[in-house]
């Protein structure tokens, strides 16, 4: 069960590099991802959009598995800057979760 966390959502939306909200859920990115993880990257972004902060921490492995190779981005029909969005999530983990 995901409870929508407005505050977390708001933070993601304010990050200028996070534009995954444009996604219309075609699944191109997931289908092309060489890493082949189920939630990478589309569903990961959905957790952010729905404000599921705990899921982001739970799936931090996936976040760090991304190759930033942009295969998905190259083919994204909505022009989502996927690699940049992933980096935004890593930044969030580094700063707010690991406190490095």
């Amino acid at each position: 069960m995901i409870r929508v966390n407005g505050e977390f959502r708001q933070r993601a939306r304010l990050d200028k590099n996070f534009n995954a909200g444009q996604c219309f859920n075609c699944g191109t990115c997931t289908a092309l991802c060489p890493v082949g993880m189920a939630i990478l990257p589309r569903q990961l972004f959905r957790y952010v959009l729905l404000g599921a902060e705990e899921k982001i921490v739970e799936y931090s492995d996936s976040i760090y598995s991304c190759l930033l190779c942009r295969m998905c981005e190259e083919n994204c029909p909505e022009g989502v800057l996927i690699a940049e969005n992933i980096r935004a999530l890593r930044r969030y983990l580094v700063e707010d979760v690991y406190h490095i």
Binding site: M1, I2, R3, V4, G6, R9, Q10, R13, N19, G21, Q22, C23, F24, N25, A38, I39, Q43, R46, Y47, L49, L50, E78
Partner: protein, 570 residues
């Protein structure tokens, strides 16, 4: 009619026929037939030279029926009818026999048999020619005026177009004000135009045009007559009656809006609104956008409310416009207050064509879309103190259950047929299974109804966006204009007729006619039926059911068909 002089011409088609059919043999056989005055062979019947020869032949021999045995009538029936006319013959006394596609080309391996078949076919043609009679297309005069029923945007635009063509238009609206469903709207999709301004600018042009008479608070009481000449009685303000004569009628009465049942997705709770109610709220709000004096944090939309249902509740059809209208509304809301969270629970987003750009805009501005299935529809409950809670399985997030606290739930409801039972009764309008008016054919004749001269436009035909309604209104203008501008209606002469001596007046045929073209008539000799030719389409449904053979289609009479059968079978 035994003295009828018939000319029969067999075409070689440069070998296409003569290679497989012994045309000389056919000519010889046919020349022996009664009434055949001339029997000739052409190399190419359709060539100018052959046509001129045949014309000369018709004139010299005073022929009053000709048969050309050549290719399919689909290719040259009209060519030769025109030729007959040039020769001074009634074009309907020309008979084409197809001995190419249906004989020589189908039987390339058996010249004898093909020749025998060709003879039979030409005999059949001669038999038909013997009994053929001169026919003239039915010509009706048409009143140079059109009535447009329903002064929504489609109706107003249609009236204006006709008025600008110089056609007298009676624009009849049941409500006290014209403008239909959009007159109060501030911002319409896709281009944010103001409904109020659209209506006002059209009204201004309508008033400036001298050809358009607008009746508001008006009701249709009665319709008589047929295409080209309808007489329609209307009543204005519940008292004044007027009778108008028009050549055609455009019906553009719009649609209604689906009203959810109590409890359907929380409908009835204080902060659960339909899309239209919410747009009203948005339109009437000024700078601050508050709900019950409180700032709105979250809005949830539930799509397909009352549409795309398989069960008993709601409608089966997709209401077409609502996805685009809802995402447009969300974009407006984002613009009013970007901090509001907007969550859309949808099934398929149908922002087709360029409306996709609206969807994109809503996504970009922060709307979140969650996909629900019919098995697990969103549940809306009231939470004391904090507003509403909506819970649904989001198919896009691994079917996880998502729970959202929201201040407002907007039910995206679709269009339903308007309440038009009286109009349907008076105009005999055909209604489809969903209750919208039905066109004859969605592709061939999309704005015409089975009632000649009565056209439908806009959302009364089915859910449409505003611009689509106007498009269909204009299409109806084109159809009605071609009727009233030429001032006449030409109908094929192949309509039914009654052989009164055989008619027993049983009336079976009346219900068989889908076009209402048959009625009872009292004559001194008893009751018989009669045909309103302007309503008849000539398909012959009545012919088939009359056991007395008292009905026939002109050009396809019982005697003629039987003679043809005998010629073929003999």
């Amino acid at each position: 009619m035994t003295e009828k002089k018939i000319g029969a011409f067999i075409c070689r088609c440069g070998g296409n026929i003569s290679d497989y059919v012994d045309v000389e043999q056919v000519r010889k056989e046919i020349a022996r037939e009664d009434n055949v005055t001339v029997a000739g062979i052409n190399m190419f019947s359709c060539s100018d030279a052959s046509q001129e020869d045949m014309i000369a032949n018709i004139r010299e021999n005073g022929l009053d029926g000709i048969v050309i045995a050549s290719c399919s009538p689909k290719l040259h029936l009209n060519t030769f009818r025109a030729m007959a006319e040039r020769a001074g013959l009634n074009p309907y006394q020309y008979i084409q026999v197809n001995i190419r596609e249906q004989c020589s080309w189908a039987h390339t391996h058996n010249k004898d048999a093909a020749t025998r078949k060709a003879v039979s076919l030409v005999r059949e043609g001669v038999a038909k020619a013997k009994l053929s009679e001169p026919l003239t297309p039915i010509e009706l005069t048409a009143q140079p005026s059109v009535m447009v029923i329903g002064a929504g945007l489609a109706g107003m635009r249609a009236a204006l177009a006709l008025g600008e063509m110089g056609v007298t238009v009676y624009l009849v609206e049941a409500a006290p004000e014209p403008g239909g469903s959009i007159k109060g709207r501030k911002s319409l999709f896709p281009d944010n135009s103001s409904g109020h301004e659209l209506v006002e600018s059209l009204l201004e042009r309508i008033r400036a045009n001298g050809n358009i008479v607008l009746y508001t608070s008006a009701e249709i009481l009665e319709k008589t007559g047929s295409v080209g000449n309808f007489t329609i009685r209307i009543q204005v303000d519940g008292k004044n009656e007027t009778t108008l004569s028009v050549g055609a009628v455009i019906v553009s009465t719009g649609s209604g809006s689906y009203r959810p049942t109590d409890g359907e997705f929380g409908f009835g709770l204080s902060c659960v609104l339909t899309l239209n109610q919410y747009i009203d709220m948005l339109d009437s709000s000024t700078d601050t956008f508050l709900l019950n004096g409180r700032k709105i944090r979250n809005i949830a939309y539930i799509y397909c409310v009352g549409s795309r249902r398989t069960g008993k509740e709601g409608n089966r059809y997709c209401s077409r416009y609502c996805c685009s209208a809802a995402v447009h509304t969300a974009v407006r809301t984002h613009e009013v207050d970007p901090s509001i969270g907007q969550f859309h629970f949808y099934r398929d987003i149908r922002t087709y064509g360029a409306y996709e750009e609206l969807y994109h805009e809503a996504l970009k501005k922060g709307s979140v879309f969650l996909k629900y299935g019919l098995k697990d529809p969103p549940q809306v409950t009231e939470v004391s103190g904090s507003g509403l809670r909506i819970r649904a399985k989001d198919l896009l997030t691994g079917a996880e259950t998502v729970e959202l606290e929201t201040d407002l739930v907007v039910l995206v409801t679709g269009m339903v047929p308007g309440e038009n039972s009286q109009l349907i009764d008076i105009l005999k309008l055909p209604v489809g299974k969903e209750g919208f008016f039905n066109e004859i054919h969605p592709k061939l004749r999309p704005v015409e109804t089975v009632m000649d001269g009565i056209y439908i436009a806009g959302a009364c035909q089915g859910p449409k966006t505003l611009s689509e309604s106007v498009v269909s209104g204009m299409a109806a203008v084109a159809k009605s204009a071609s009727l009233v501008l030429t001032g006449k209606v030409n109908l094929d002469p192949f309509v039914a007729r009654v052989l009164t001596e055989k008619c027993t007046g049983c009336g079976e045929c009346i219900s068989s006619c889908p076009y209402g073209a048959i009625s009872m008539k009292e004559t001194p000799d008893g009751t018989v039926v009669e045909i309103t030719e302007s309503l008849c389409k000539g398909e012959g449904a009545c012919v088939a059911i009359c056991n007395e053979e008292a009905l026939e289609i002109k050009g396809y009479g019982h005697n003629m068909i039987k003679a043809m059968i005998e010629a073929l079978g003999g």
